[in-house]
């Protein structure tokens, strides 16, 4: 493996000697009912170039990449690969050309082994033993350790990504597309991934790197195309640009800031979890192991961790969707609630915002007034078994006003709102209940920057009125922005409490990999 410096020196030669772009997009348009996902998008990428496509959630990045890969068809525009125009094509044509893609939400199958997954996208004789050896070779060459015979459901998210990347590399790609590859990785794993990508680029492979994270793009990419609302708003050399310039192109305004005032916390915890141990009988689930957690009134507490490390299981125990058969393990305001259901816990002042907005946080086809009533019905909206429609409408209207939800009114269907606006509505609904404890999972996932800042500030403000706020998030930046204290979850184990002021991204990152947990399991497992 050549050293990092050698790669940097080789790179300019590669760019100069081969002047045909690896890929050229000309005037790509893609329209969906009510939204233009890509509007006249053109870009070009040279062999061995690492090119960023920057943009917020919903800017049209993923759509553009799927068009290149052939998973969806553009309405207009043309694509030229190595100088040859490509007519309408599907993923198999792309793969024959040497285009490979690592999806944001992986296209792996849980119930079969790693090598079987890879066999599905490799042509040639179906011989798993031979293929397993090839997988080992490639994974060794690029420093991506994986065991070809393990079942995918056993793998951590980071390992799954390695499988995806190895699957692509098996084909010796000419163009590798990565869609938000770091959203599931720890900071340390990101560094490793970048080494692999630089090695690939040095070998002449072009890389399209989709991201909304400015710092990563600045470290990794040679050039960048910025998208906003489906339009190109600029191109840049990220290494020579400032984050503020890039952010303006991406957001159209300066990045909003949140204010974290000092907090005064309650004497006793509002929410307390005492040695929670819960083995999972589902092979795709995670067992919780001796979880200790307390959240006091007046503070924001975060749980960091790569998803799939027990967050879903812990949340379902806290919200009451799954009951815990054990006394004095989960207490709410000093009261044992482990065996009491979600409705009862809400009566005790618990509010909860799940990760899935549509289907769990809101009923998609129902209008906002109905959705407001789902959890707001305790505020006098039901009288003698009858719905007080007026009160429900007022409540919904109040949320829309206070939380700046962009919609035509409380009669709009939940699924007609954009992700950010629906999230503002759901968070607003829970905050308006005046909870003592608010549990919120991935508060700004898939939400635009403006709405994300608004939601974060609302969570801080809620805690400063005396409520306890617990945030479960994959976004470390977000947790460091809003939390007073942090825990890290890894393989079903929760770390000790960390004071935000006395910790840093590196320490949290190590805890996310389980390296500090003193566990005897394979360390690479959680990376």
């Amino acid at each position: 493996m050549p050293s990092f410096r050698e790669i940097q020196e080789e790179l300019p030669n590669v760019l100069e000697t081969n002047m045909t772009p690896r890929l050229e997009l000309r005037h790509i348009c893609k329209r969906y009912p009510g939204v233009i996902a890509n509007d006249d998008v053109s870009l070009s990428i040279m062999p061995g170039e690492i090119h960023a496509v920057l943009g917020e959630n919903g800017a049209g990045k993923s759509t553009l990449m799927k068009i290149i890969y052939g998973a969806i068809r553009a309405d207009e525009g043309e694509m030229v690969f190595d100088g040859n125009p490509i007519a309408s094509h599907g993923p198999s044509v792309s793969r024959a050309l040497g285009i490979e893609m690592v999806y944001q939400h992986f296209a792996l199958f849980e119930s079969v082994s790693v090598v079987e997954n890879i066999a599905l996208s490799v042509s040639g004789k179906f011989d798993l033993t031979v293929l397993a050896n090839r997988v080992r070779d490639v994974s060794k060459k690029y420093g991506l350790p994986i065991d070809p015979h393990r079942f995918v459901y056993n793998l951590s998210v980071g390992e799954r990504q390695r499988v995806e990347i190895v699957r692509c590399l098996m084909q010796k790609p000419k163009l590798l597309i990565l869609d938000e590859p770091t959203s599931v990785l720890t900071p340390q794993a990101v560094i490793k991934l970048f080494e692999t990508l630089r090695q690939l680029a040095a070998e002449g492979c072009s890389i399209l790197y989709i991201s909304h994270k400015l710092d990563e793009v600045q470290v990794l990419c040679d050039s960048a195309t910025v998208l906003r609302n489906g339009l190109i708003t600029g191109t840049a050399k990220p290494k020579q640009s400032t984050p503020i310039e890039l952010a303006r192109m991406m957001v159209g305004a300066d990045l909003p800031e949140t204010h974290l005032d000092p907090s005064t916390t309650s004497d006793t915890p509002f929410l307390n979890v005492n040695h929670l141990t819960a083995p999972s009988d589902n092979p795709f689930g995670i067992s919780l192991n001796d979880v200790l957690l307390s959240v006091f009134g007046g503070e924001v507490v975060g749980i960091a961790g790569v998803s799939g490390n027990g967050q879903a299981e812990l949340i379902s125990f806290l919200s009451g969707e799954v009951l815990f058969k054990g006394a004095d393990t989960i207490t709410l305001g000093g009261k044992d609630v482990g065996q009491l259901d979600a409705g009862y816990r809400r009566e005790q002042g618990l509010a909860f915002v799940p990760e899935e907005r549509l289907g769990r946080g809101a009923v998609p086809p129902h209008h906002l007034s109905d959705n407001a009533m789902l959890t707001g019905h305790r505020l006098g909206m039901v009288k003698n078994w009858m719905i007080q429609r007026g009160k429900a409408n007022d409540f919904a209207a109040q949320i829309i006003r206070k939380f700046n939800v962009k919609t035509t009114g409380y009669e709009s269907a939940a699924n007609s709102l954009s992700g950010g606006n629906l999230q503002k509505f759901i968070v607003g609904r829970e905050i308006e209940l005046g909870p003592k404890v608010l549990i919120i999972s991935q508060p700004t996932w898939g939400v635009d920057v403006g709405a994300a800042a608004f939601i974060r500030q609302a969570l801080i403000d809620l805690s400063r009125t005396g409520a306890a706020v617990l945030i479960i998030s994959e976004e470390l930046d977000e947790l460091f922005e809003v939390c007073d204290r942090l825990y890290v979850i890894c393989q079903g184990q929760l770390s000790k409490s960390l004071d935000r002021k006395n910790t840093n991204v590196e320490e949290v990152g190590l805890l996310m990999t389980g390296l500090n947990n003193n566990s005897n399991s394979d360390n690479s497992k959680a990376v």
Binding site: A71, R95, A107, F109, S111, V112, L120, S121, F126, N282
Partner: protein, 306 residues
């Protein structure tokens, strides 16, 4: 000894139509499609088999026609469920109703006229061995063919790439589509294979088991096959054992008097069904095994992204 041989061979024979239909449905469900129309397809196969045989055409042609008729009937379900994305439960149920009706119409032509039955093969030497011969080498060709199909399907699903593709489509059609597999086309093929197998199961009933046509002669065997797939947790070997269990219950019920079992006949005839329920309940406790073999996308409509 004669009684044991009678029960053993009776079990194998009674299990054969179930093995055909359930193995076919297994492949369909493994691809993520739930076809509740087995009963209908079996009836169509049974009626067409008798029809062709009654017309004086040779037995192999009658059997092949039954399979073809089953596949054709399944196509009806396929168009509804895979092309027009109708609810799969509804499409399957309507296929059962349709198949029951169509088979009755076909059957009008020949009533309950007796036909030449599919007879056991005489295998030189093997059939003549005492005990072993009657136990293992005295069956009609379709019984042996059902075992060949069992071997072929197990090999196909777990050893070939095409089988891997079928299984992964059943887990996630979205991902399969994303890496470039023609999900709908493969599901069509699976559905038609299931239809052909159900047709064979039906033909076995009307050409070998009770060689004549009677309206509704499957008497719920399609539904039992469907339950077998679930009870077997989507594993081929378990389907075989399950079918034998039901077969043995059916035979025990028939031989009940000879064995001196003095239970009311109603209780005896409900035994196979009670056994299904009990076994289903017990088996569904093994979460882990189920989660690994259950086709996650079962009965969910899929439309490729555009």
């Amino acid at each position: 000894m004669d009684l044991f041989i009678a029960i053993f061979t009776g079990t194998i024979i009674a299990a054969t139509p179930l093995i055909f239909a359930a193995l076919g449905e297994l492949v369909v469900e493994k691809s993520g499609v739930l076809n509740l129309g087995i009963e209908g397809m079996m009836l169509v196969g049974a009626a067409v088999g008798v029809w062709v045989s009654y017309a004086g055409l040779p037995m192999p042609l009658a059997i092949m026609s039954a399979a073809a008729a089953g596949a054709l009937a399944s196509l009806l379900f396929g168009v509804l469920a895979l092309t027009f994305l109708t609810n799969q439960y509804a499409a399957g149920l309507s296929l059962t109703i349709f198949g029951t009706g169509v088979s009755a119409v076909i059957g009008k032509g020949f009533g309950s006229a007796p036909i030449d039955a599919l007879i056991p093969l005489e295998i030189p030497f093997l059939t003549e061995i005492p005990v072993i011969g009657p136990l293992f080498f005295n069956y009609d060709p379709l019984v042996y063919f059902s075992f060949i199909m069992f071997g072929l399907i197990s090999w196909f699903l777990y050893k070939t790439k095409a089988g891997l593709v079928v299984r992964t489509i059943g887990e996630s059609p979205e991902s399969s589509h994303a890496i470039g597999y023609p999900v709908i086309k493969i599901r069509y093929l699976a559905v038609m294979f299931g239809g052909a197998m159900a047709g064979l199961g039906g033909a076995y009933l009307s050409l070998a088991y009770t060689p004549l046509w009677v309206e509704n002669m499957t008497a719920g065997k399609g539904w039992i096959s469907l339950a077998l797939v679930v009870f077997a947790a989507w594993r081929p070997a378990r389907i075989l054992f399950g079918a034998w269990l039901f077969g043995s219950m059916t035979i025990l019920q028939l031989q009940g008097q000879a064995l001196g079992i003095s239970l009311p006949s109603e209780v005896l005839s409900s035994l196979p069904y009670i056994a299904t329920i009990v076994v289903l309940v017990v088996i569904s406790k093994n979460w882990q095994f189920l989660a690994l073999n259950f086709p996650t996308s079962l009965a969910k409509p899929f439309r490729p992204a555009e």
